[in-house]
């Protein structure tokens, strides 16, 4: 079947099988920044934004994304044009192995889009589906707070 999914602001016409999983389709199409790990919706590594809301792409039928917008961490920012969140994660030492970070940043982006001035509790709740086994979580929370501050002050996009 053919679906139309807008991925990182580019409309893509994709040929998929009816039972395909969004994570697999995205990686097959070259969006390898979306990571697969648990494949049971527990770890958050596969988080993407669907119409601005974070979802577990490992449990999402690709056909359900037809007609919707998907944003991966590459759509949020890249090495040449990093988003404030990406800069803040580096600045705060919130990255070690890096495998979970695309999902963590994607969840944090959804939070800051909705709530530019989150509390620590807001951040914990918004990122409660993103596991990290390297850094712990304090640095990630500090990074999100710093990025929120920067964005409010207009320092970054």
């Amino acid at each position: 079947m053919r679906v139309s999914i807008t991925i990182n602001a580019v409309q893509c016409l994709l040929e998929i099988e009816p039972g395909d999983i969004l994570l697999d389709v995205l990686r097959r199409e070259g969006y390898v920044e979306v990571k697969g790990d648990c494949h049971t919706g527990d770890c958050g590594a596969c988080t993407v934004l669907l119409d601005g809301k974070p979802v577990a792409s490992c449990l999402m039928l690709a056909a359900k994304a037809d007609g919707h917008a998907v944003t991966t961490v590459r759509g949020i920012g890249d090495q040449r044009h990093p988003h404030a969140l990406q800069k803040a994660f580096v600045h705060n030492g919130a990255i070690q192995c890096g495998y979970c970070i695309p999902g963590a940043i994607t969840s944090a982006k959804a939070l800051l889009d909705e709530n530019p001035e989150p509390t620590r509790e807001d951040i914990r709740l918004a990122m409660d589906g993103n596991y990290c086994r390297c850094t712990g979580y304090e640095q990630q929370i500090e990074a999100v707070l710093e990025a929120a501050r920067e964005l409010r002050e207009g320092g970054f996009r």
């Binding site: 039972g19 958050g44 669907l50 577990a56 056909a63 359900k64 969840s107 990122m127």
Partner: protein
Amino acid sequence: MGVITEYYRATSCDDAHAKAKSLGSAAAYVGGGVELVLRRNPEVATLIDLSRCGLGRIVKTAEALSLGAQVTLAAISRNGDVKAYAGGSLAYLAGHIAHNNLRNMITIGGAIGRNQPWNDIVPHLIALGAYVEIQDDQERVMPLSDFIRQREPGTLILGVRLPLVNADLHGFLWRFTRTQQDISLLHCSALIGVQESVVSAATIVYAGRPGGTVLYPKVAAELIGRPVKAETFLHAGDVAAQAVEVGDDLRASGSYRRELVRAAMVRLGEEMAGVAQ
């Protein structure tokens, strides 16, 4: 989910139901899709998408707060009318269950349709006195507790109605879990009415014993007409500990769960003491 050969986008509820009826157990409705992917049923070859059937809205009418079957837990947790209903217990639960990514995917229709033994949404809805709107050969409305007992395969869930007569009562839920995202070792939900510091109405539900949802009118009867005092709830806890069937599994023993049954009533009493004041 076995090999899926068809993804059918239903254009209306009639269309969806007709398709499901024609295919029988080879078809499944897609709510959020989470359970379909996680627990694959090799019989299922056709998925019926309901996203174009107009089931994604929360509407307040004169009699009820209606939640469409395709409404996600995240949307429920943010809705002002749900936050105002019965003290906001359903909104709180919908905003704290599982995790954020899944809350954006799981639909209330899917949660009811699957009703896994560890489900926390269904017991709380039953405690709130919810009705379910369904379509089989005709559209019907029935108490959710009856639907869970009698459910026929292939029935299309259209949504949930929370009666407004219960809107000003006090919803209570207590999930005893090892971690926030864990499934419940014990779940207790209640809906309590108070008039002049006396319990005027009560519904008590336990789940996760392990096993599904059970209403306990005998425990509720121990509360109605009695003062909102610690002794009332301690006594109800003793009755509940005798009445609620509990069992052992790998996660907790039956005797531990029995203590939790009692503790839930104590917690309810503490909460209601605050409400009564």
